[in-house]
């Protein structure tokens, strides 16, 4: 197993996955090659190691507002494999932003793997914005794969609101993403997922939102781009077990010899569950390319601009 202690790699990956350029302010925990490299708790956000050593607990006090908690993970070792469980206990009436990215720099011929479980307990009337970005890079001439398998479990108490944004744009060879949410009365969740695969990459995302309380809602929006010989599978399932509203939308651009499978599912247990799904897969329209070419872009620049906009 080869370990690199390269500050430049770490800084670059932290910038990619968590937009961190200097020492972060507020609560943070930076995990580097399987170990907590630096950590800071605040008066309202306590970060502690889990007793079994599997990860960290993040406890956020009732009424914590306008605070950010940042817990990026960097793997800069070929062959490093880890499973991490992080648990967020968010009190009532909070308004916080949580940033949790993971980046792999693979410098060798062995696969590097990160399996992360993030479990959120969101208290009554709390608002949480959860940002998760996954990124990978491989040194020239090496063959090690970057594997990322995140599981996110969310439990929303009454009146809570969670907005989750996940982005995986580059360098992850294989991912199996599982997201599930249980949403109680008056609570709402918005999940925005952005995925791009190329080469022979594979990405699978399986999202389930169970709307169990009256007036609960879920909005799942997935946009993905599959190019070359890559494959994407997207499964979303909204379960309406109460008077609720749910919407799931899956849009995919497909190019080259890629394959995309979109499986939106709705499961209504009672008549006042209003659930909608939309799914569309298609290539970039020739008219779209032509329009941007009339603005002076080359075909390649036009395609990049269309994909950038689509995944924004």
């Amino acid at each position: 197993m080869l370990y690199l202690d390269d500050k430049d790699i770490e800084q670059r990956i932290l910038a990619e996955v968590a937009d961190i350029h200097t020492t972060p302010t507020g609560a943070y925990n930076i995990r580097y090659n399987g170990k907590a490299q630096s950590r800071n708790s605040t008066a309202n956000i306590q970060i502690t190691s889990r007793e079994d050593g599997s990860g960290i607990n993040i406890d956020i006090k009732d009424g914590t507002v306008n605070e950010t908690c940042c817990i990026p993970v960097v793997i800069a070792a070929s062959g490093h494999k880890e499973t991490v469980t992080n648990e967020f206990n968010i009190g009532e009436n909070c308004d916080v932003v949580i940033v949790a990215g993971c980046g792999i720099h693979n410098c060798g011929n062995q696969d590097s793997e990160h399996h992360g479980v993030h479990r959120f307990f969101v208290g009554k009337n709390s608002k949480v914005k959860y940002l998760e970005r996954h990124y990978g890079e491989t040194e020239h001439g090496t063959s090690g794969g970057n594997i990322m398998n995140p599981t996110t479990e969310l439990f929303l108490e009454e009146g809570a609101h969670v907005e989750m944004e996940t982005t995986q744009i580059r360098g992850i060879d294989s991912t199996r993403r599982i997201t599930s949410a249980e949403v109680k009365a008056g609570a709402s969740i918005v999940i925005k997922e952005r995925l791009l695969t190329n080469g022979t990459q594979f990405a699978e995302s399986d999202l389930t939102a169970k709307l169990v309380g009256e007036g609960s809602s879920a909005n799942i929006i997935s946009r993905s781009v599959a190019t070359d010989r890559s494959r994407i599978k997207f499964v979303s399932n909204i379960v309406g077990a109460a008077p609720c509203s749910g919407h799931t939308e899956c849009d995919a651009i497909i190019a080259g010899d890629a394959k995309v499978l979109a499986v939106p599912a709705l499961d209504a247990d009672q008549p006042d569950a209003a659930l909608i799904h939309e799914a569309a897969i298609g290539k970039i329209a020739g008219e779209q390319l032509m329009k941007l070419e009339t603005l002076g872009l080359t075909a390649e620049e036009a395609e990049a601009a269309i994909i950038d906009g689509f995944l924004k």
Binding site: L295, G296, F310
Partner: protein
Amino acid sequence: MLSVRNLKYDVVEEQGEVGIIHDISMEVPDGQFVVITGPNGGGKSSLAKCIAGVYQPTGGRILFEDQDITSMSITDRAKLGISFAFQQPVRFKGIEVFDLLKLASGDKQLSVGSACQYLSEVGLCAKDYINREVDASLSGGELKRIEIASVLARKSRLSIFDEPEAGIDLWSFSNLIKAFEKIKRETNGSIVIISHQERILEIADTIVVIEKGCVKAAGARDEILPGLLGTESAYPSCRQGSPDETDENCGPDTGSMADFVKGGLE
């Protein structure tokens, strides 16, 4: 500036090769406002698309500023200074109006103020639109105006508009004409408009009438227009209502004047 010589454009359909443009020659001098009109199906839009490079002609030549551009790509023509506003603009999921105007202007640092100016010129209240996506949430009329704004932002030597009035309501029609005049003034360039509208024909320097894939007539406005009035080549403008009743920049999108005027004719 632009010279079209013996242009020919055929398409292959089930019944064989069909001629869309048989033989068109025309000139667009520097700084001229040329309106191409004529009956539907006569080849006007195909001509405009051949000039912009969207269609590849099957015969003849196109010269732009003395350079043969007949085989040139859309991109290369755009870089030389040719802009084209589509009759039916496309939509883009995720690309915002501001993004499109930045791409159009070629200036990644385009200021919000400049972008707003382009939108105001096409009768859109800029603050309501600049961060909107150019997607299905926009009405046909809104999309059409954004398409025109994208061409304004290009400040090209030659701007081609394919039926720009479709989807443009009455109050903003006069703004549209002001916008054309401004392009001409600022770029010292030429404008080619495909249109049936009498009000657009009235501001032309030159009118070219295309029918059945050929030039039926071409010449100065005063020479050509009188013969067109009352025909399919020059629909009268809708004179109902007052363009001044609505705020110039922030009025509602009240629908398509062209559709109203053309109702039942096509």
